[in-house]
């Protein structure tokens, strides 16, 4: 078609983006790889990777990270999809969507403190259930409270992309499906869900990936009962100042991310082919 002008257009898109890639992605990546692969004298070594893979502690932490990130993503998705779907049915849906985003502008540490106040032994939730005659429960420092607060933080990041992809679905498609005799459930499963898949994927990426390296909530709400890679990295960069081992874990996280990306990418292509 228009090869030359297309090139020009791409140049216009790509120059600022490439500068960003080189300075803020490539350079730090090289630095990270360099640090993870050298000794303090600058000699090549695989020592850091050996430490990581030989240590039961780190492998267990990795497993914890993946498992809890999975749970957080699952809970977030289960709450967010119906929310996004129902929001889409409302008049003034953009207004309601803004109301979903609004809580994210309040400082995270402060919101976490508020959760401590809500969930503590003498906190609001226990006072409330006390009115119903239930004895105070230990809510903090449990898996549930940790998952609740983590999901709370991530919900808006899941709702937003799903909402967007749902909003784009032509309502006539739903109508057509209905006319062809599909019930509500079939329409949802066969029409709405597949069409909103790109939004779901974007949401999963926006939630799962950062959840791998949570650390503040694991301590504040989880009482360090769950230890994830985020805790280890934090420690290596800020407490022991062993940036080499910290970088190694960073590299491993990046590799894990690439694998996840490739896995989810493939399915997108298949489903789009199906749609023609």
């Amino acid at each position: 078609m228009m090869p030359k002008s297309k090139k020009q257009r791409q140049l216009f898109y790509v120059v600022p983006y490439s500068i960003w890639l080189i300075l803020f992605v490539f350079a730090p990546l090289v630095l990270l790889l360099f640090q993870s692969l050298t000794t303090s004298n600058g000699d090549f070594t695989l020592h850091n990777y050996a430490v990581y893979f030989a240590s039961g502690t780190y492998l267990k932490m990795t497993f914890n990270s993946v498992w809890y990130a999975f749970l957080i993503t699952l809970i977030t998705l289960l709450i967010s999809y119906p929310t996004a779907y129902l929001l889409n049915q409302l008049k003034q849906k953009q207004f309601w969507l803004l109301l979903v985003i609004l809580p994210t502008w309040i400082n995270l540490l402060l919101k976490t403190y508020a959760f401590v106040g809500l969930l503590s032994k003498t906190g609001t939730v226990n006072n409330f259930i006390g009115l119903l005659g239930i004895a105070p429960q230990q809510l903090l420092f449990s898996d549930w409270s940790f998952l609740l607060v983590a999901a709370y933080i991530e919900i808006p990041f899941m709702i937003l992309p799903i909402f967007n992809s749902l909003a784009e679905i032509n309502p006539r498609l739903e109508q057509a499906s209905h006319d062809l005799g599909a019930n509500k459930w079939q329409t949802l499963r066969r029409v709405i869900l597949p069409l909103s898949m790109p939004g779901i994927k974007a949401g999963i990426q926006a939630v799962f990936i950062p959840s791998l390296s949570l650390f503040m909530i694991t301590r504040l709400i989880g009482g360090n009962r769950v230890i994830t890679l985020g805790t280890a990295i934090e420690e290596h960069f800020l407490v022991t100042q062993n940036w080499r081992l910290g970088s190694t874990i960073g590299v491993i996280l990046i590799v894990a991310m690439v694998i996840i990306m490739i896995l989810t990418r493939d399915r997108v292509r298949k489903s789009s082919r199906k749609r023609g």
């Binding site: 502690t57 267990k60 401590v116 906190g123 903090l140 301590r219 009482g223 407490v239 062993n242």
Partner: protein, 359 residues
């Protein structure tokens, strides 16, 4: 498209207004100006009475640009990497030793210091900075135990060994710090908190692991909040945290076990990035003044090393054995040394393994 452009224009307009507001505000506070009459102070968040900063500006004419950090190591990284120009910073003991060894500090000219005589000699000339060549004490404190008298008898919790009592199952909050947690175990085994013996460390880790059934959570700065809210009966933490917690819950008390504990310092140093030395000395002298130091100690609630300031504080603070322990107890306290990279890692690995044994 038009709407998209309109929103971009709106955002830019708001940005312009904000720029205007910012330059107006900064002309009032003095931040961001590189002129000579500024002091760049790098300190923990909310770790000085803001009224004192205003008073300092009024008395000396130097405006204070106050920047904050949340951990010694984070501060160290910033000063080491450069790109900033802090005139004074407030690191803790072991970090001063480390920064000194890496030549990140400037020596203090004692002939320019007018307030040295105000300090209690027990808190000068410490192992991390002999003869106070590089630092002046700002606040000091201890590591100890907070307990809630609604759940725990005073006599049941006076020593570190009491923590291991089977009575306290799932009741203790432990501070999330490798040095402090291991120090507790080391002291119960009569070892130095600065030990560099693999056997001592392994024994301490084993001892600590047996405490696990009693531990409810391993947390950090939030301990004061949890304790004030009755979330746990006992906590192992610093005196600073304790002071905050005690002021919010009258059932809480703080004990420094008499067999020994950690003695910590936050001292003021002059990093090598300092550009406004005259202002820095003016501030050091200002904060050494007993009246100012006393005002600051009342605001912060930590123990002041300034003996003439202490004399100005109300009796209830001066005679509070919890935060100003007697000479006998102080003589058993140990200050942390900088362990060096390898041993810092060993301590932290031991603590990390201990944390992973939970449940």
């Amino acid at each position: 498209m038009k709407k998209l452009l309109v929103s971009v224009a709106t955002i830019l307009a708001v940005v312009l207004v904000l720029f205007g507001t910012q330059s107006y505000l900064s002309s009032k506070t003095g931040t961001g100006t590189s002129s000579k009459d500024v002091l760049n102070l790098y300190n923990w968040g909310d770790y000085i009475d803001p009224a004192l900063l205003k008073k300092f500006t009024k008395e000396t004419g130097y405006k204070v640009s106050y920047e904050t950090f949340d951990s010694n190591e984070a501060m160290y990284t910033k000063i080491k990497q450069g790109g900033t120009s802090y005139d004074l910073a407030v690191p803790s003991d072991y970090m001063i030793q480390k920064m000194k060894a890496e030549r990140l500090l400037l020596p203090l000219d004692h002939s320019k210091l007018t307030g040295l005589k105000n300090y209690d000699s027990r808190f000068l000339n410490q192992s991390f900075d002999k003869k106070n060549k590089y630092s002046l004490p700002y606040f000091w404190g201890t590591l100890g135990i907070i307990y809630n008298d609604e759940y725990v008898n005073k006599k049941d919790i006076q020593h570190w060994d009491d923590l291991w009592s089977s009575k306290f199952k799932n009741q203790i909050m432990l501070v999330d710090s490798a040095r402090d947690a291991l120090a507790v175990a080391l002291i119960t085994q009569n070892k130095s908190v600065n030990t560099k013996s693999q056997a001592d460390l392994a024994a301490a880790q084993a001892k600590l692991t047996t405490l696990m059934p009693n531990i409810k959570a391993i947390v950090a700065d939030e301990i004061k909040m949890y304790m004030a809210q009755n979330e746990a009966a006992i906590a192992v933490t610093y005196s600073g945290e304790a002071a905050e917690a005690l002021s919010n819950n009258k059932h809480l008390h703080y004990v420094v076990p008499s067999e020994g504990s950690n003695l910590w310092f936050d001292n003021i140093v002059m990093p090598k990035t300092a550009k406004h030395k005259a202002a820095a000395y003016a501030f050091l002298n200002f904060i050494s003044d007993p009246k100012n130091a006393a005002q600051n100690a009342e605001y912060i609630g930590y123990a002041t090393p300034n003996k003439n300031a202490l004399a100005l504080l109300p009796k209830s603070i001066r005679h509070d054995k919890q935060f100003y322990p007697d000479n006998e107890t102080i003589s058993h306290l140990q200050v942390y040394d900088n362990l060096g990279q390898a041993w810092t890692e060993k301590y932290n690995d031991a603590f990390l393994e201990f944390k992973m044994t939970q449940r």
